[in-house]
């Protein structure tokens, strides 16, 4: 059997961490773009669009992320397309992220006083222009803290991609554990690395929230 030193374990975990970070970034940014489109639909006042977004959000917030990963992994295969764990994971995590971000941002948009909508409507701005020039610039200020806060959930969410076989930090931990039989050490290190990724984000989110509250 191969002999793994502490440094071997750690360096292998850190290499896999790269994939956790890449997956997180893709899910967060693509989820943000999808979320923004959904936000426009959700607040448009057009009933079918609102109904669609509501059900979309209900589904992705009301079912386990793990189920969503399974459904994408096995569901896309039904169309005869070869699915890699990577593809299923990015897709599922992106849509899952978009649902939560839409809901967070909707709250921010709705906290903008009604007078801002009316004044901009009176100036002949269309709905898209109202959002673009008047509502979103104000909502964005409030949205930054909870959005950064949610990025922590995205990083943690990527850990579930390990279950459908995508090799990122958690999967690497499982593999190293099987090879070394040192579960206490391996999972402590895995947890420590996640903590190093997530804690700065949590801390930053709290800082932003505090600054916003102080400004009010």
């Amino acid at each position: 059997m191969l002999k793994f030193s502490f440094w071997d374990i750690l360096s292998n975990l850190l290499i896999a961490t790269e994939w956790t970070i890449i997956l997180s970034l893709i899910a967060f940014f693509c989820g943000g773009i999808v979320g923004l489109i959904l936000l426009f639909m959700r607040t448009s006042g057009v009933k079918p669009l609102e109904w669609f977004t509501k059900s979309y959000i209900e589904f992705f917030q009301g079912t386990p992320l793990l189920m969503q990963l399974f459904l994408f992994f096995f569901g896309i295969a039904l169309f005869g397309v070869e699915v890699s764990p990577w593809m299923a994971a990015t897709l599922a995590l992106t849509l899952w992220t978009s649902a939560f971000l839409t809901e967070i941002w909707r709250g921010c948009v709705e906290s903008i006083p009604k007078g801002q909508w009316e004044a901009s409507a009176t100036l002949a701005l269309t709905y898209i222009e109202q959002m673009r020039y008047v509502i979103l610039p104000q909502a964005a200020r409030i949205a930054i803290a909870p959005t950064v806060g949610f990025s922590v959930q995205v990083v943690k969410g990527t850990a579930l991609a390990s279950i459908i076989g995508f090799v990122e930090l958690t999967k690497a931990g499982t593999m190293l554990n099987n090879a070394t039989f040192r579960p206490f050490l391996v999972y402590s290190l895995v947890a420590a690395i996640y903590f190093c990724l997530c804690f700065p984000l949590s801390w930053f989110a709290k800082k932003l929230e505090g600054r916003l509250n102080a400004a009010r």
């Binding site: 209900e58 589904f59 917030q61 009301g62 079912t63 386990p64 992320l65 793990l66 189920m67 969503q68 399974f70 459904l71 096995f74 569901g75 295969a77 039904l78 169309f79 005869g80 922590v152 943690k156 969410g157 850990a159 579930l160 390990s162 279950i163 958690t170 931990g173 499982t174 554990n177 040192r182 579960p183 206490f184 391996v186 999972y187 402590s188 895995v190 947890a191 996640y194 903590f195 997530c198 804690f199 949590s202």
Partner: protein, 220 residues
Amino acid sequence: MLYKLEFGDLLPYWDVLLQGLVFTIVLTVVSTVAGIAVGTAGASARTFGPAWLGRVVVVYVELIRNTPFIVQLFFIFFGLPAAGVTLSETTAAFIAMVINLGAYSTEIIRAGIQAIPKGHIEAGVSLAMSKWEVLRHIVLNQAFRKIYPALSSQIIIVMLGSSVVSQISAQDLTYAANFVASRNFRNFEVYLLAALAYLLLAMLTRSLLRGLGRIIFKAE
């Protein structure tokens, strides 16, 4: 190629899936009650306890909130035996859930306590109430009223997150779905059914908690 969905193949396994569903419900209920108890203790210790205890609580909360649940679960189930603590998969699942929800509810309840005006505590003290009486009747009572919606959402998040316990072979709904899929290879159908069961459970839990909240906090 068009694939034809066959939900009929799931029928022979209805009892397996039902057992899984029951396990998930029990797991959620027990960890909710125990988790909120942990959270109440944690939040009280953090706000009113000695400084060292407060620091211990902060470390606990931040460690849990900044690591994935699945890693916590693996650590408890696979890691702890190496340190001499061996747990069955069911016990490990329950403990991990309680620890997880405990940390989140500590943070939520603490925020509720902080939102209570200092004057209320002083008023209680000036009415000759003891520290414990003030905590129970004035502080926690009001705090829970305030944070009930946030706590409710967290309970649903934790319920959905519990599907991960299948990975240490705790026999919840997801474990049952995995089992059925391995038998009849109807992966998509069984996961779709399970997902819908979770969705229904989430919606049910939400309205149940809302109704419960109305009964508990009706005096307003």
